[in-house]
Amino acid sequence: VWLPGLTALQSDDDIIRAIKQGDQDALGKLYTRYTLALWRFVWVRLRSHHASEDVVSEAWLAAIRGIHRYDPNRVPVYYWLVGIAKNKILDFLHKQRRGQIALSGLAEATNDVSHPDAERIRKVLIEMDDDGYMLECLVLQWKYLDGLKVCDIAQRLEKSESAIQNLLYRARMEFHRRYGQEYQSELP
């Protein structure tokens, strides 16, 4: 069974450095650490298994091919990966608009969405991502969906635990602020 997040605690910078030296194990670690986050990022936008698989694999391949140009000092790993994924999603949608990709692959049934405001929450989260709150969305995922502890997140992102607490606090506040506004705006 594939268990996300259960990787040895090693900082992103160390992992990237090792990959640049050709370390396959390090690549495995990075892949395990971010695949699910990247998958979610793509899936909530395309809502199709088939399309998400295409885009996620293209994004990962592009990332590995360009890894020697990536400088961890300039932007965190997740931002970098998400940036690549965003471009790939745009490429995909562009091709789809030009009719190079069949529409049938998109908009699959969104399965078991039971929460009454699911669509609204999804919209809020996508907006947060697009407005630059990517790291906040990532820590929300790790904390609430993958069950990572604050200390594990701190280790991964090379930050102190109090910094992660702060980040989580900001993430929750931003989410509630946007969700509340969204909710208000729909009231009659």
Binding site: W2, R17, I19, K20, Q21, G22, Q24, L27, G28, Y31, T35, L36, W39, R40, W43, V44, H49, S52, E53, V56, S57, W60, L61, I64, R65, I67, H68, R69, Y70, D71, P72, N73, N111, V113, S114, H115, D117, A118, E119, R120, I121, R122, L125, L140, Q141, Y144, L145, Q165, N166, Y169, R172, F175, Y179
Partner: protein, 617 residues
């Protein structure tokens, strides 16, 4: 203050996120396959990826890189060589007598020289391999020389009873060499300090040993270089003093220390430098006298040597310089005689250079002009878009044939053309550029290739304006002109209300539309728009005025190109090709007869007398 996690809220948030965001997980096969593909991809690029720079290595890595860099290795080699020599010298001091110490010192000096030579070789190797910029190489060289000087200083300090003359001479020479390298890095102020230090040591040596011819020789070279630095810094008084000291040192050097011709060339160059400094200070008579001394001294150099070493250029520059001074003093006949002699010299000795003067071999001369500003200078052929035509295009082609090197056109806005030339964005500017007093202070000009005049153009129904004089001090009359030209300068001088344009065509358009009352343009442009195009809406407003001279402008640093250009222009004139070009464009007129004989030309510098430039004392 961060509120602690409230478990109820957390649970609510978790539930919201899970339902809204939790994507169905990817297929396990997909995840596994993708990982395998990524690993294969990484294996494929790993050998290529080893070479790129790994961003931000950790501190120990960075320190390791710094200590293993080539510059550090080179510096370490020098320090090692110096230290080795010093250690050897210290040991021998305990064991041997004074004569042995002297020989060890010589050995150390030899080692040091070898270290410097090694750095020179290294510089060249690195430079040839283009792994570092010339500035990097210069900095390395400076580092090396500083290390060398430090070594000498140490040797001098630890020497018993103070330094010997040999050590002092070595130190002074190392300081002068360091100063030279510092100047090469662009730090001229620091270089001046270094020169002063070295020269001070040398002065002391020269005073102690008046019989030695070597010290004054070194002193003369040092002061000469120092003077050039001062001059480049704009410190003309100090420059002149340094040149004077260089001359004094030469006079004290033993006659025959150099070959006679070599000595004459160096002295001549110094006399010219003094003349330039005096001219810059406005001392025209003194400048003339120094130029005269330079010409007399350089005149003693045998013809063969003048030609062999390209030394004729020094004499050419001295003659041309004196010609300028004489013109400024109002001695027109004498000025023209010098100018003639200079041209004769250029004709006799100049030859197509095997290497282009600017840039590496094979690189064409870059000719800057504005093809949009208007006809008939250089412009796009309306019948064949994309092709440039014009009398200056024909002239450029003819010049290229004469000079034996290609000339490449570079589009540049007219109003900033000369600024571009100043910045080195082109080698020559040829676009109806008039010789003007203020331009003479910044640029060098070829001999004139066209004698132009300024022509006033007005609307066909214009009754008020019959000549340029009718426009003076009239608030209701506005005359348009191309900006940054002699025409603009003339309008200001004549107190005529003007409007300047960036192009040649726009003022004529505005004139027809009634926005302005006239256009003052160069005769070729006016002729093209009024007569050749047979435009019925405009006419000439009286006779053309104020002759002016079109010449090719170059940056003072590239003055050497001028002699080639002048010779090429002279040949075009004599062969009649220049006339054929002008006739083709309907530009030949009686004024151009003046081009045939340089003596009949009004010396361009005469304009300086009437213009806003410097006046002689």
């Amino acid at each position: 203050m961060i509120p602690s996690d409230n478990s109820d809220h957390d649970e609510d948030l978790r539930s919201k996120l899970k339902n809204a965001w939790e994507a169905p997980p990817p297929r396990e096969e997909f995840v596994a396959e993708l990982e395998v593909r990524l690993q294969a991809e990484l294996a494929a690029i790993a050998p290529l990826g080893a070479s790129p720079v790994v961003a931000s290595p950790s501190l120990p890595f960075r320190l390791f890189n710094v200590f293993t860099s080539r510059r550090m290795l080179a510096a370490a080699a020098i320090v090692l060589a110096v230290s080795t020599g010093w250690l050897g010298w210290q040991t021998s001091r305990l064991q041997a007598a004074r004569d042995q110490q002297a020989s060890l010192r010589n050995e150390t000096a030899t080692n040091l020289q070898q270290a410097l030579a090694a750095i020179d070789r290294f510089d060249r190797a690195v430079h040839d391999g283009q792994k570092l910029t010339p500035r990097d190489v210069a900095l390395m060289r400076k580092d090396g020389l500083q290390a060398a000087v430090a070594g000498y200083e140490t040797l001098v300090k630890v020497g018993e009873g103070g330094a010997t003359d040999a050590s002092k001479l070595d130190l002074a020479r190392a300081q002068l060499r360091l100063a030279q390298a510092t100047a090469a890095t662009g730090d001229k102020a620091q270089a001046i300090d270094r020169y002063l230090q070295g020269l001070s040591t040398l002065e002391q040596l020269a005073q102690n040993h008046p019989e030695s011819a070597g010290y004054p020789d070194d002193l003369a070279n040092g002061y000469h270089n120092l003077g050039v630095l001062y001059r480049d810094q704009g410190q003309t008084v100090q420059a002149d003093r340094a040149f004077q000291q260089a001359l004094n040192a030469y006079r004290h050097s033993r006659p025959g220390a150099d070959a006679d011709a070599e000595r004459a060339l160096r002295l001549g160059a110094l006399y010219s430098e003094r003349a330039v400094a005096q001219a810059a200070a406005g001392n025209w008579n003194a400048a003339r006298d120094w130029y005269t001394q330079a010409i007399q001294t350089l005149g003693t150099v045998p013809q063969a040597q003048l030609s062999a070493q390209d030394s004729w250029r020094s004499l050419f520059q001295a003659l041309a310089g004196r010609s300028r001074i004489l013109a400024a003093l109002g001695l027109r006949t004498e000025s023209l005689q010098d100018w003639d002699q200079a041209l004769e010299l250029a004709n006799r000795f100049s030859r197509p250079s095997p290497d282009p003067i600017v840039g590496p071999a094979g690189k064409p001369l870059i000719w800057g002009a504005d093809a949009i500003a208007g006809a008939p200078f250089v412009f796009e052929d309306p019948k064949n878009p994309g092709t440039l035509i014009g009398y200056e295009m024909d002239l450029a082609k003819a010049l290229a044939r004469q000079m034996g090197r290609p000339i490449q056109f570079k589009q540049h806005k007219w109003v900033t053309l000369l600024q571009g030339l100043e910045k080195g964005e082109m080698d020559i500017a040829m676009n109806g550029v008039e010789i003007m007093p203020e331009r003479l202070q910044k640029f060098r000009f070829s001999r004139p290739y066209y004698i132009s005049k300024l022509q006033l153009v007005v609307r066909a129904d214009e009754q008020r304006i019959r000549s340029v004089a009718d426009c003076r001090d009239r608030k209701d009359i506005v005359i348009g002109t191309l900006g940054n030209t002699a025409a603009e300068w003339q309008l200001d001088r004549l107190r005529i209300k003007r409007k300047s344009y960036e192009g040649q065509i726009e003022p004529f358009t505005d004139l027809i539309l009634g926005r302005i009352d006239g256009v003052l343009a160069d005769l070729p442009a006016a002729d093209y728009y009024v007569r050749q195009k047979q435009n019925p809406k405009v006419k000439y407003g009286g006779e053309a005025i104020a002759p002016c001279f079109y010449a090719i402008a170059v940056h003072p640093k590239n003055e050497a190109i001028l002699s080639e250009i002048n010779v090429a222009l002279e040949r075009l004139l004599q062969s009649g090709e220049l006339r054929r070009i002008y006739e083709k464009w309907n530009l030949w007129n009686a004024d151009q007869e003046g081009l045939q004989n340089v003596k009949d030309l009004i010396d361009p510098l005469r304009q300086a007398e009437s213009g806003p430039g410097k006046q002689p004392n």
